[in-house]
Subunit: 657 residues, 2 copies
């Protein structure tokens, strides 16, 4: 059945991608499922089952190796529960909010911008249908729109179409009251009930709680891990022997009380993040390893292109993008490249990945530059990673609020020597002559610039000078009261607040998008789904399949399990009471890349067959040969073509697929 050439004949796109089928598969195989399902579930909360947990753990493990270990980052594990003061300082209490509207009759709550988007996009789709154009909406989740805001096929005036398109293009820029205005002007109603909606109100997205028994200490669940890094900056700096650049990293749970989450893992109320805060000298944002990534080509959608109304991307090397100033600095460019390499490594399709720069009006006022790593999936382009140069904002606000300096004290290699003119007072004479006006006079003189001091010096050399206070009074000064001297200053320490480059990963979004990119159906049968996850991240690496649960296979199953475990390869045994073909089909859906079949020949000859998931190709060899080969496959030392060179094709009569 299988031949050496099978590997090249797999057609993964024979059937178009079907989100409904993928969702059904993920649910049936318990990658993830709505949390509290037997209690009716809660929107935006999901539990990961065994394959989802393992996939997530493998992605996190690779992330840790790719970033923390490779770059010697300082890992942190900080608390989720956070006292209110921290988020008051960071700005989250005031600004981490979305606008919501209430259905005027049912009281149902909708996110205001999503409502406008759904309704207007549905109307535009209805218009295109009425004009006999293709009904496909320009972007985003078709199914959701179908459900939420079905609109009749009604032709709109050309002017209205242009107005809707213009509103949609800049939807992120509307304030709450402006969205309210839009709803009234365009009669935007709750599509579920056709009722009007009320005035938009702000809803803070942080879950609130109370710390301790008195009820007086307000706390929030963190919406990101970042503040935990910043607050520990001094300890981290000390751990790093006082030197920058260095980075802290944290993988952990965060919470956002989304208004009305309906997009599966793409918008949830509780999620895992992986965040890096890289602290760098604001005057030197070069990166020592930039040369390693300089020639990597990436796809960019920069802010100027977007501001010109286009979404055309450019393919450019990271080096060129930094040289041309499209990416603000080397360190930011280095991280964009490293993020790219990580995502490709875990199996994201490089053709469906782009870097979108934030436009000026989209970016936080303090940020120097910000890029979203967007990955394309069935709902459109989805932000999965953000990478911002946040300048000195975070450390500065916490330092200002707490009075704790959060700075680097750098010993200068060459002390900076400066000379300047300074007033030298004879305090005794000053007091005697001017009494309570002494302070005013000192202040006036000391606020003079270099030129002013030089002028004074010249006049004093002539005998006396007159200075004027703010309220217009004049005082005559002589060298008995003050002289101006040229002095030398030596600065050997430089204090500075480091800037922060922050790559921030939404692990659930990456995981879900990876599942979409990996899912296809076999050419011959749409019901035979396959998840082509790379072995590195696949939940189970090897499935051990004895022909049946008969006891005679037990010793070999034990032996092979133990040998794989010793080799560090995670395997599972499936000896369930069903055909080998069905067991392999189940594991194709679970993304298990390799299968070992144990049959009567195995017992007799100590041979096993090795099956590859994508091709269903099968090879045969001695137990130890096959274990060595599959170990090399799992760790990426060899590819399937090389495995085929090592092991002959299996052409036994025992059909196992």
């Amino acid at each position: 059945m299988a031949t050496t050439d099978m590997a090249t004949t797999v057609n993964k796109t024979a059937h178009p991608f079907d989100k409904t089928r993928l969702d059904a598969t993920l649910n049936r195989r318990f990658f993830y499922a709505p949390a509290f399902e037997i209690y009716g579930g809660v929107a935006g909360l999901y539990d990961y089952g065994p394959p989802g947990s393992a996939l997530q753990a493998n992605i996190i493990d690779l992330w840790r190796k790719h970033f923390i270990i490779e770059e010697g980052m300082l890992e942190l594990d900080t608390t989720i529960m956070t006292p209110s003061a921290v988020f008051e300082t960071s700005g989250h209490v005031a600004r981490f909010a979305d606008w919501m509207v209430k259905d005027s009759k049912t009281g149902d709550v909708l996110r205001a911008d999503h409502l406008v988007k759904n309704v207007l996009e549905a109307r535009l789709a209805g218009d295109r249908e009425a004009r006999g154009l293709e009904a496909a909406p320009p972007s985003d989740d078709k199914k959701r729109k179908k459900k939420n805001a079905k609109a009749a096929a009604v032709k709109l005036d050309d002017g209205v179409v242009r107005e809707y398109e213009s509103i949609l293009a800049q939807l992120d820029n509307y304030s709450g009251p402006e969205i309210g205005e839009l709803c009234r002007k365009h009669d935007i109603r709750n599509p579920d009930t056709d009722n009007e909606v009320g005035e938009p109100q702000q809803f803070n997205l942080m879950f609130q709680s109370s710390i301790g028994p008195t009820g007086q200490h307000k706390g929030y669940l963190r919406p990101e891990t970042a503040q935990g890094h910043f607050l520990n900056f001094n300890r981290l700096l000390e751990y790093n022997n006082g030197r920058v650049p260095f980075a802290s990293a944290q993988i952990g749970r965060s919470f956002r009380n989304e208004i009305s989450p309906r997009a599966g893992l793409l918008r949830v109320r509780e999620f895992n993040m992986a965040e890096i805060e890289h602290y760098v000298d604001p005057e030197d944002k070069r990166h020592p390893r930039f040369k390693e990534v300089r020639d990597l080509s990436i796809v960019l959608l920069d802010r100027h292109i977007q501001e010109s109304g286009s979404s055309e991307t450019t393919t450019i090397t990271v080096g060129e993008a930094v040289d041309k100033g499209i990416i603000a600095n080397e360190t930011l460019g280095y991280f964009l490249a490293r993020i790219y390499l990580f995502l490709i490594n875990i199996g994201i399709d490089p053709k469906r990945l782009r870097f979108r720069q934030h436009m000026a009006n989209e970016m936080a006022h303090y940020a120097t530059d910000c890029w979203d790593v967007e990955i394309h999936n069935s709902t459109g382009w989805t932000e999965c990673v953000g990478c911002a140069d946040r300048a000195a904002y975070d450390l500065s606000v916490h330092s200002n609020k707490t009075g704790q300096p959060l700075v680097v004290r750098q010993a200068l290699k060459e002390p900076i020597i400066t000379e300047k003119e300074v007033p030298e007072w004879n305090k005794k004479n000053l007091g005697k002559l001017f009494k309570k006006d002494s302070a005013v006079i000192q202040q006036v003189v000391e606020s003079l610039d270099e030129a002013g001091l030089l002028k004074l010096k010249g006049e004093l050399a002539q005998g006396s000078t007159i200075v004027k206070s703010e309220d217009g009074r004049e005082f005559t000064l002589t060298p008995e009261v003050v002289t101006i001297e040229r002095k030398t200053f030596k600065q050997s320490i430089r204090d500075f607040t480091p800037n922060v480059i922050e790559p921030s990963f939404g692990l659930g979004r990456i995981l879900y998008t990876l599942l979409e990119h990996s899912f296809w159906s076999r050419e011959q049968d749409v019901d035979r789904g396959v998840l082509s996850l790379p072995p590195l991240v696949a939940p189970t690496k090897v499935l051990i399949v004895p022909l049946s649960a008969r006891e005679e296979f037990d010793p070999l199953v034990q032996e092979i399990s133990a040998k794989l475990r010793r080799a560090g390869v995670f395997s599972r045994v499936d000896d369930s009471n069903t055909s080998i073909g069905k067991r392999y089909a189940r594991n194709d859906e679970l993304g298990t890349p390799f299968g070992l079949t144990i049959d009567f020949a195995s017992v007799q000859n100590r041979t096993v067959t090795l099956r590859e998931r994508d091709t269903t190709d099968q090879r045969i060899g001695s137990i130890d040969e096959v274990i060595a080969t599959v170990t090399d496959l799992v760790f990426g030392n060899i590819d399937w073509a090389e495995a085929c060179r090592r092991l002959p094709a299996y052409d036994g009569v025992q059909a196992v697929d």
Copy 2:
């Protein structure tokens, strides 16, 4: 300086354990620190810094290998935010609470049982002092008591001493009102202010929040991960092909809003747990791998000993304890043994570990048996792991509440054939004769047992019988209305609710206790602290120490780092501007087991020295020899004695320690 025999001469107990010094070391090296410290901190919330995070990650990694991978458990990752209904069912809303009292003047809140304990123990200590006996209190944190409840050296009446001791021994059994009574009777006041305290009030320990924008959906942060397992039982069972036994496992964050946490990592408001729920047939709690642990000796403190007022432990094999019925069943015994092996493996001192069985009045009413794994540290014996046989409680309550069956349907190998007598009604005649009394008559007959039915059968064979309703009325039945027939029943499916064995690990407590068990000071100098963490869990395995930050060492530093990374050994470079001795001392405090020194000889001869942390012994060899040796050491393939056989002692003039 160092010789081959050094390994045997290390005296780790030269200086008595000093908690203050350990705490200072852990804080200075940023193992962990109070969270939000620059904002003044919040009691019971701690952040883990780089070495603490790495130690925790290594413990979790070993846990995953020891339990999940070794036993093929099904891993889960469920949400922390939980709707109220779930904890209403589980009993947490009603009962997961502690009693608190308020200071009558300041309003400060204290945990009621802790207050009684602190005050009475302090009085007993004062009594012992007054009697000229040793002032050491019988158990628990001396420092805390000193701070909280210092009592004068006052001699008490012998009767009072006995009363206090009796109260302390059964403190867990007092209700809130009873504790209030105790406070009044014994004049127990807030030791910080000497004010009286009010009536004890119940305080639920779950953090409460609200899910979604309406404020109508109450949610709690989970105080344990267990409910997330139980709610997914049906999916897990299906994933396991419908068969028990199997286990689910989860490592994750949980929250408890402690009233007044003051015991460092031992009592915190946010913590990581690792929990296993092992589902087993209630009629067969044997374990297939029990034979592997049968001969392991463990130290037990069983319920009978405790109920007799003693705390004398028994050393016994797991097999004997199960055979004698001290441990309720094989599966429970298997997990106690596996927990023991895990704890010893990560470095817990086996001499400071015991299994304490819950007494009857301490155990949840539904539980069959429950053991705490207690580890001794400077605060006394501390529960670090619990292991309970929870019977069918959890699955039953959720099933009853939701109406979803949470059962195993087991196809019986041999169908169970039963014969029994059953009434066969002639419904037409019954209705005609008895009208609305028909139902009453049917109920009376069908509630009869086998003997009753046989008696009826005999009488009916004679022509007629009389039955009596509950209210005393009599009805005459004939074979025209009812006959009693012998029928055969065949049952081929058995439905049952599995029992749950639950090992539950508090990772922070284990981590802290491990740090205590690992900490000592060098013989010659109390200021030279060492953390003798086993290489398996040590945050950094190898420290690379170039003589200085001079560029000529860079190529070797790079080469050695890269080779160690390829071998899977986590290393760090310390090229800071301080002596090699100081750098090693810093890393002794961080628990780094091995050091590689790169000096001028390294550049010339490609040799490096290998230093062992506990002995400070140094060996020398070629770069590749040393890397191979240290890799074997880190993965536990060889011990230091073997390393000394492989590599000669370093006797260079360059003193590095």
